[in-house]
Symmetry: C2
Subunit: 256 residues, 2 copies
DNA sequence: AAATATAATTAGCCAAGCCTAAAATTCTAC
DNA sequence: GTAGAATTTTAGGCTTGGCTAATTATATTT
């Protein structure tokens, strides 16, 4: 657990707050089962924990209605996320880790480093603003630039874009993306799309070193990009897309 | 907790094993109250924990008779100590920590780093053999060169020696030692000794940059040295020394 | 609107690590 | 060899963070 002058929290508490932050951001709300799934624990355990977190004023909790981070909870979440991402960046840039190895290590170290150590790592890296997966690093003061990006899944044929961010949790997926050359900063162009959630053919890179690869909708969904000026850009038309995750659970219900 | 293929242990368990290792080494045995004092917890808590550690075959425990590390317990202790010392060395050499700041940080990180990370840090440091306080770093394979050194307290007037190791737990003491120039590698000579556990006057360094300082018996005790060939070295005669720690507790009884 | 499905909570349990107070054991002195 | 001191263990309790099974609340169908 970090020592740093202020109150300290246990590893599990920090992981809950991080998970809730991410869920609030991406789906607008954090339901008990979402948290449980994310942390790979039983829903009943989540109920117990969020009651305690609510007692500590880290979140607002209305039974059966979900939770929301308080100001304090948000601050703790962002501090933990900053630690995680600074650590990942340090491991890659200073110790030669590959981008698929750092997440698990950071997931543990984020609870053990002091604020002073994070600051020293950040300074040694010249105050990085994004981690190796393109995720923004919150500042010491607790602000983040959480721009929301399109995913490759949303690009129309012919559109060009720059990869800005990929999901960092699955090492195998990261290795695969790496092998395709799909890393932040790289330019891609949608060469073709099969209908009905079919595979997307991407032109990766530019000029003579460009390659062409086919990615499935799941991979395309986790590849976040920034659109580039494209000659003859067609009007924005989201691709045909039936309800999410058909084989698994039902959708999560409307946010809020 | 470290992930590394093998079984993993909790932070508290690793700290117990480390403490027991150090106690066995320095006093020959590890008594319940010694462990309690070292870890700053109540003796009753120690009894509970060592019973569990004995169940796990990490140590042999005979009630009222103390404990001894098993082969397995020793291995875990040395692995943790290796982590601690590699981390300390890394923090000093790569991140610019001073030697009084690293112990607390390493005390937490030692339980969170993976074997892979320790190996990478060690490689980046060119496989260091001693930490910033002069303590030997166990190898990956679990061997240590635990030479036993004399302390400055044991030096006779006129003897010359090289500082090889200092106790790393008290930051204030480390800062003071640093301010006197008493760091591993430095040469010292006992210029004078006051009798009855009195202060020791040391000539620190050599040549024109040498300084002279007076240290008390407590500080002298924690300064470990290697004797150097000295002109006219007097026969080995330990200084007059009444029973250890007179004001505190009684001595620990014979080892074994 | 009732039936069903899903989500969430409650009830009761457990292990790890800590605590204090009381009892037991061992050591030390006389 | 016994009294007193010190050490160690036992007894009983607490918090954290998990679990399963059962129940209750909410959503979705029909
Ligand atoms: Mn974590
Ligand atoms: Mn990341
Ligand atoms: Mn420790
Ligand atoms: Mn050290």
């Amino acid at each position: 657990m970090p020592t740093g002058g202020a109150t300290t929290y246990t590893g599990p508490v920090e992981d809950y707050l991080k998970a809730i932050y991410e869920l609030e951001r991406s789906t607008g709300s954090a339901a008990t089962t979402d948290i449980a799934h994310r942390l790979e624990i039983a829903p009943a355990s989540v109920t117990g924990m969020i009651r305690r977190l609510a007692d500590q004023r880290l979140l607002d909790y209305e039974p059966y209605r979900g939770v929301r981070l308080t100001e304090t909870g948000l601050r703790v979440a962002l501090r933990t996320i900053r630690r995680h991402r600074v650590i990942e960046t340090f491991l890659v840039r200073v110790l030669g880790y590959s981008w698929d190895e750092v997440h698990a290590e950071a997931e543990r170290l984020e609870h053990a480093v002091s604020d002073a150590l994070v600051d020293r790592m950040a300074a040694a890296l010249d105050e990085p603003t994004v981690d190796p997966h393109g995720a923004p690093i919150p500042t010491r003061e607790g602000t983040v630039d959480e721009a929301h990006y399109a995913s490759v899944e949303e690009l129309a044929p012919g559109e060009r874009a720059r990869v800005v961010r990929v999901s960092d949790e699955d090492p195998a997926r990261l290795r695969y993306l790496g092998s395709l050359g799909l890393t932040p900063g790289v330019t891609v162009m949608v060469a073709a799309r099969a209908p009905f959630d079919g595979p997307i053919t991407l032109r990766i890179g530019s000029g003579r070193r460009a390659t062409q690869q086919v990615v499935g909708p799941s991979l395309a969904h986790s590849l976040l990009v920034e659109r580039l000026r494209t000659p003859h850009r067609p009007p924005h038309r989201p691709p045909h897309r039936p309800p999410q995750r058909p084989p698994h659970g039902p959708p999560l219900g409307p946010p809020g």
